[in-house]
Symmetry: C2
Subunit: 467 residues, 2 copies
């Protein structure tokens, strides 16, 4: 990480013996730095970390033993780039910020871009936030407070307010001169907005097109009149969808009156896409938040609700089984084979569910094609169910020497896989219609159904046929 | 979708009664267009779709009944923007392209950007691809063939070859004049690369900085010397990681000699991030590919392997249970309660697993902090396990009036949830070390272990204590 010029990443990662797929960080580096913190060797740490990128420093802090994190921050003092805080995992950041004075935090926030600053502040307790805001100059405080006034996870929170907007009767020369005179432009921006006298966006010019035009060319002659405008209260998931769908690099944000008030760039969207994908993955796995760096207490609390729901499900399944205890007592082979249909159904249901949840998130599954796809799902389930029924039926027959038992488990398997496929597709669609996130609640519904159907059909058939 | 100028999306979606979260598309529009296709009303379709964005047309085609897709393409003929094909779901695209002549396909490909064209061609059968390439002018064919020569899912496939590279001794005026004279620049680019005489990148200038500088300013005086370089053979997942980690808008791609050969921009990365997140979600759900638009046969094949693995797992669990059939025959309550410990363990294991898979993907979980996190996971599992053991033990005691049965199920629950938490964290880490995608294989390992441990501990304890 120390070559300042040709910092070629990844390609030379294979040279040392470290197989961990991180770039700058590996166990030895972390160990080395931990030892330097323990002996309070500030000269070594300052030199070692001099050229590190903020994101890598944040990664380092996450990897440090928790009790060394604060000493590290104290040793590094004002050499910590505020962007390090933006890049930190929320749990780790909270823990560190708790130890800082409001004035210290305010100084950091002043150096962040608006969206990062708002993101930073939004996780504070009401009171702490007020203390910090009081330390910030009134002008900037007002901007921050406006940022905080937009709903969490909306376009308003993602946007930058600094942008270049010019009237259509200007030429490129005037535009360039205006840009040269404007302070406070964001580091990254990709287009110039053209606005009417009411400050409504009427067009956009990619920077490269502006640059390649002569000074006398009129703005109105080279602008694209078509553009996607983003209402300030649009949910960030919808904003991300627009960026993906239309491959946008940046887009104008407008208020209720249609006036241009900010700009969102695609690099902010990368974070949103990540967040949304992470949310879906975690929710499908029955975890309410990324708890890797959470405290034990918080992790327990985060995991508890799903386990509790699962407990109710498991008890319901046990109750269903208890209805057939006499049958099992008579033929104990049934107790042995009982989990198979339930487990296969659960698996088939999860497959259908996963495809459906994903297809809903990408808007590929809609009311227009739902029945067609449900049809296909049923056909797939019936076919796979029949194939596996033959296998399981044969194994059960040979195992217990009873063709009837084989037939019963085979029949239960077909029914349960079919139910699983259909339910796995329908439940997410229904939850989406009820405006419940399909990822959060589908799994438990589907496996409850497949467990109970699996046990009841298998044991019920056995009771009818064998007793 | 017909306002050409102020195409404000989303904000007016609430005006009609459609609750589906699509923008232009809803059931009525799809129905309306399907009817127009059926009556071959080309005038209506041409007018209706005139201002549609390629991505929306692609969505429409996906929503159409499969048998209407080809007639639709025939009616629209050369009014279909080639980008529509790039935006189409792979399965749907394949089906349509099968019906087209090589010359027709070649004409489309000629209009696509390089990365889209390569993406389009890579899914063709060897022979079909040759037929299409033969229809393309030699110069462009060579470029395409080079694009195809890079490994699938590598930086080489993502990059654009058209870029602006200037020597450090130029000034901004020369740079701008050069840009004005250069044809074939991509629509979107955000930085100017500075190269040495061997064409090695030595710096980069964001477009906006170049634009705001006077003509006499030297390139070397305003360039950023630090930049992330991407080796052409880097895996796209790593490329996406770099873009996320360092919030890059674009980055230079270099060949083995370190020479600049292309550029990757963040909008291409948005697709990669999506793809990789989708892959993780699907794999965790036991599906090998997004099969929403796949044929029945292909979907069956895609889902079969996991179901088969699950079958083996289920049979192994049944075999474990069969070891205790005498115990169950003696106390049938055991058969009734048997699924609880297995199911709770499976759920707890999936939670730990999901967090671990996600943390490995984001490189937050590493060898440096693995033991610390494993420790925490064990503590969480022990606590949650104990709480649920109390609940389940009490329920089982009251249900069957036997405190011993309550105690046995409680003990089995603690053991299994603890094993689940630890295994759920260790298995993904081990798979990652073995260079197997943790998302694809973790679930089945973990649930196999939790099933078998759940059944064996519960029934084993019961055999020891009750018999």
């Amino acid at each position: 990480m120390s070559e300042a010029q040709d910092e070629r990443v990844g390609s030379d990662a294979g040279e040392d013996e470290n197989t961990a797929p991180t770039y700058g960080l590996n166990e030895e580096i972390v160990q080395d730095i931990q030892e330097a913190i323990e002996r309070e060797d500030s000269a070594y740490l300052h030199e070692k970390l001099e050229d590190w990128h903020a994101a890598d420093v944040a990664d380092l802090i996450e990897q440090l033993k928790p009790k060394l994190r604060l000493p590290f921050m104290r040793i590094m003092e004002d050499r910590i780039d505020p962007d390090v805080y933006s890049a930190l995992d929320e749990n780790v950041r909270e823990h560190l910020v708790d130890e800082m004075e409001p004035a210290e935090i305010a100084a950091f926030i002043n150096e962040l871009e608006l969206d990062d600053a708002v993101d930073f502040l939004e996780n504070f307790e009401e009171e702490d936030r007020r203390d910090v805001l009081n330390q910030i100059p009134p002008d900037e405080r007002a901007v921050l407070q406006e940022g905080l006034s937009y709903g969490e996870d909306t376009a308003g929170r993602l946007m930058q307010r600094d942008l270049i907007a010019v009237p259509e009767y200007w030429n490129i020369g005037q535009t360039i001169d205006y840009m040269r005179d404007t302070e406070n432009l964001p580091d990254e921006f990709y287009e110039i907005f053209v606005v009417d006298p009411r400050h409504h966006p009427i067009g956009t010019i990619p920077l490269n097109r502006a640059m390649r035009s002569k000074r006398h060319v009129m703005v109105r002659d080279i602008m694209d009149a078509e553009q996607k405008l983003i209402p300030v209260d649009m949910d960030q998931e919808e904003v991300a969808y627009l960026f993906k769908q239309y491959r946008l690099a940046s887009a104008a944000v407008v208020n209720d009156d249609g006036a241009l008030i900010g700009v969102i760039t695609v690099d902010d969207i990368v974070d949103v896409i990540n967040e949304e994908a992470e949310e879906d993955i975690l929710r499908l796995g029955g975890v309410s938040e990324d708890d890797l760096f959470s405290s034990v207490y918080r992790t327990i609390r985060a995991r508890f609700p799903w386990l509790f729901v699962n407990l109710l499900t498991a008890l319901a399944a046990s109750f269903a089984i208890s209805l057939f205890d006499a049958t099992m007592e008579a033929v104990i082979a049934l107790a042995v084979l009982m989990p198979i249909a339930a487990s296969m159904g659960g698996n088939a249901g999860t497959q259908a569910l996963t495809v459906a949840v994903r297809a809903l998130a990408t808007k590929e599954l809609t009311t227009a094609n739902m029945f067609r796809i449900l049809n296909k799902e049923a056909l797939v389930a019936l076919t796979n169910g029949s194939i596996f029924a033959c296998m399981v039926g044969t194994v059960a027959w040979l195992w217990f020497g009873n063709p009837l038992i084989g037939g019963i488990v085979a029949a239960a398997l077909v029914v349960n896989i079919l139910v699983a496929g259909v339910i796995g597709m329908i439940v997410p669609v229904m939850l989406e219609r009820l405006k419940i996130d399909p990822a959060i609640a589908s799994g438990v519904f589907v496996t409850t159904v497949t467990d109970i159907v699996g046990f009841v059909v298998f044991l019920g058939l056995a009771t009818l046929i064998l007793l």
